[in-house]
């Protein structure tokens, strides 16, 4: 398989009154053609900043791309001019956002918002574009698309707005779709509809997807590979099965153990990760998870762990992988750590 997107050593910062917030601190990952890569992590871990940097939607200033390369279809997106980027954005790269209410223009009909990019990128005439828009709305499962295309976003329900967003994003058949928490704002039954739709469309068009989410349930449902981020760095990456059934980073264990599951018994305790993520204005010099990690050693607070290869697809950044490290109780999925206190 060939790499469609390859992000190498990306550093992104924001200047604020309090100092420089180092939101992304050396992120590496890639996306192959036709696959779905999920980026998981808590708020503030840099997952959204990474995706917005790929789209070049980071306002500069205050944002600065300090370092790194983003290779996408033989170009480095960090270096291309704004004008070129405008051409790529919408036609080859597309994005859907968490909140479909604030990401659609309330003063334009839904139909016009879809035709906008068709006219701009595919140079379609307005009547042809309108036909295509109606077709797209039908494809994403909006009933009576002819009349719906003339309506405004406020006349749509949350699930339908997200469908309309997907229609806009897919209008020019992008190679890569970035979905930033596409289902977080939706109810479970609607969430299931949207995930189902995304899967179907991916099969049909072979689009690669970067899915950004904190919901491991959604990840298990749709992803091929998983990238786990914490405090601006990638702590673990691997195929879906490697990360879910053989997680190696204590943070990944923690995430798995702190989530309630339907098959979890009432008497079993949830194992929370104590504490909260570090401040990224002055991030710790060692492993950022050390302060919350049950297995932290002296070396963890002093030096950043290197990425260790566990297989050709599975990498983890943790000192426990070092040959001299003590054997921690791992590989045990949900009972990964001892109970807190």
């Amino acid at each position: 398989m060939s790499k469609l997107l390859d992000v190498r050593d990306l550093h992104v910062s924001f200047t604020t009154y309090n100092g420089e917030v180092k939101a992304v601190r050396g992120v590496n990952f890639y996306v192959n053609k036709g696959e779905t890569v999920a980026i998981v992590g808590e708020s503030g871990c840099g997952k959204s900043v990474t995706s917005q940097t790929i789209m070049r939607l980071i306002p500069q200033p205050p944002g600065i791309i300090r370092h790194g390369e983003i290779h996408f279809a033989d170009r480095d997106l960090v270096k291309v001019s704004d004008k070129q980027m405008e051409k790529i954005r919408g036609s080859e790269l597309a994005m859907i956002f968490q909140d479909p209410m604030t990401s659609l223009n309330p003063t334009m009909t839904v139909g016009r918002q879809i035709t906008e990019s068709l006219i701009k990128h595919q140079k379609l005439g307005s009547s042809k574009a309108r036909q295509k828009a109606i077709e797209l709305l039908r494809m994403v499962g909006i009933p009576s698309p002819e009349s719906r295309a003339k309506q405004y976003p406020h006349q749509f329900s949350g699930g339908m707005r997200q469908r309309a967003m997907i229609a806009i994003a897919l209008s020019c058949r992008p190679k890569l779709l970035i979905a930033d928490e596409p289902t977080t704002a939706l109810d479970v039954t609607i969430q299931a509809q949207i995930i189902d739709l995304m899967k179907r469309l991916q099969e049909k068009f072979g689009t690669s997807i970067i899915l950004i989410t904190h919901d491991l349930g959604v990840v298990a449902d749709i992803a091929d590979r998983v990238v786990v981020m914490y405090a601006g760095i990638v702590v673990e990456t691997g195929t879906l099965h490697e990360v879910f059934f053989n997680p190696h980073h204590p943070y990944t264990w923690g995430l798995m153990a702190s989530m309630p599951r339907l098959d979890l018994h009432h008497e079993q305790e949830l194992l929370p990760i104590s504490g909260s993520p570090p401040d990224l204005i002055s991030p710790p010099k060692g492993c950022p998870f050390a302060a919350r990690c049950r297995h932290a050693m002296k070396v963890c607070t002093e030096y950043m762990p290197e990425m260790t290869d566990l297989s050709s697809t599975h990498q983890v950044a943790c000192w426990l992988e070092h040959p001299m490290a003590p054997k921690a109780n791992k590989h045990t999925g949900r009972n990964g750590g001892e109970a807190d206190e």
């Binding site: 969430q191 299931a192 349930g217 298990a220 599951r261 990760i273």
Partner: protein, 339 residues
């Protein structure tokens, strides 16, 4: 075994009849008038009992009326119809001293920890507000009580003089919990207390709520849309759809043997964080959206999305009945004639 057979079979459900009912809701309705004759029937005839010391979970999608029930129970709204008895008194008839006592015994934890704390008050004054209103403590005693409460919820004394903006979401929710606990309540309504928090922090807050329940013998009404979390924390769960309760059972029973088609669909839509289980299971994907509560469908409100809809469903609203002991459902599939 089919659902019907199961429904007809008398199972050895634990007898809960000897437990004390702390809150009893009968035929509760809450309608909002929008003007020009339009009425939103947010809650339209809901009945249930909550036993002392248990956690009663209320789930449903947005707009199903679960938060409205919570707010009506604590008298933030007045009920349009129906009665609510708390420890034997009708809460809408309470006046004077009795009302004050009720306000003390029932407390609420809100969803948004950013909007529910006054940004211009210190944590000390936020937590102590209930103490002041009910005249429970003053001066040094007041300060001491607040600091004790902060310790109980996992904060410490130095946090008392800070303002809400200095705290993270999880910490703010802890402040909200300390405030609710300050007046020694017996019943706490938690309206989506963890929805706004990150996964790793959610587990911290839920474990705290469970610990406090054990230590103080609290009763919870836990409102949420996250089914796995509700199942985890609740003893019994009520499922709501468009202003009605459609199913009520203890949580293992409800999740193991859902009777109502809506509950089945809702459960099958919950993403499972396990790739194998997730690929194996069959999902029931409901079509369409929840209809508007201004103009709900006739008969059973779920019929427009129900995969098992029958002719009868459009004509008559299903009765709320106990199909298996302690397992209530409102659905025509379980009518006696259907056998």
């Amino acid at each position: 075994m089919s659902k019907q057979e199961r429904a007809n079979q008398v199972t050895k459900a634990p007898a809960k009849n000897n437990r004390e009912v702390i809150l009893s809701v009968k035929g509760l309705k809450k309608h909002f008038h929008l003007g020009s004759g339009q009425v939103v029937k947010a809650v339209d005839g809901v009945s249930f009992d909550v036993y002392r010391g248990e956690t009663f979970g209320l789930v449903g999608e947005s707009g199903c009326g679960k938060s409205t029930i919570g707010r009506t129970l604590i008298r933030l709204y007045n009920a349009t119809e129906g009665s609510v008895t708390f420890k034997g008194d009708d809460i809408y008839q309470l006046k004077g001293k009795k009302l004050k006592e009720f306000n003390q015994k029932m407390q609420m934890i809100f969803q948004d920890p950013y909007a529910s704390l006054n940004p211009r008050m210190t944590v000390l004054n936020i937590v102590a507000e209930g103490l002041d209103i009910h005249g429970l403590a003053r001066g040094e005693e007041r300060r001491k009580r607040v600091i004790d409460l902060l310790k109980v919820v996992g904060l410490n004394a130095e946090h008392a003089n800070r303002f809400p903006h200095e705290f993270s979401g999880g910490q703010r929710q802890r402040i909200g919990i300390a405030r609710a606990l300050a007046v020694k309540p017996e019943f706490i309504i938690a309206d989506e207390p963890i929805s706004a928090l990150d996964v790793s922090i959610q587990a911290q807050v839920v474990n705290l709520l469970r610990k406090l329940q054990k230590e103080h013998g609290l009763t919870y009404l836990f409102i949420a849309h996250d089914l796995s979390m509700v199942k985890y924390i609740s003893d019994r769960v009520g499922v709501m759809y468009l202003g009605n309760m459609v199913e009520l059972a203890n949580s293992e029973e409800l999740y193991g043997h859902p009777l109502h088609p809506y509950t089945e669909a809702l459960l099958s839509a919950v993403p499972i964080p396990d790739p194998d289980a997730s690929k194996k299971r069959e999902r029931i994907i409901l079509e369409g959206d929840v209809p508007s509560p201004i103009n709900p469908p006739s008969g059973c409100r779920f019929r427009t999305r129900c995969p098992k809809v029958m002719e009868l469903c459009a004509i008559a609203a299903p009765e709320w009945k106990e199909v298996v002991p302690n397992h209530w459902v409102a659905c025509h599939l379980y009518d006696k004639e259907q056998k």
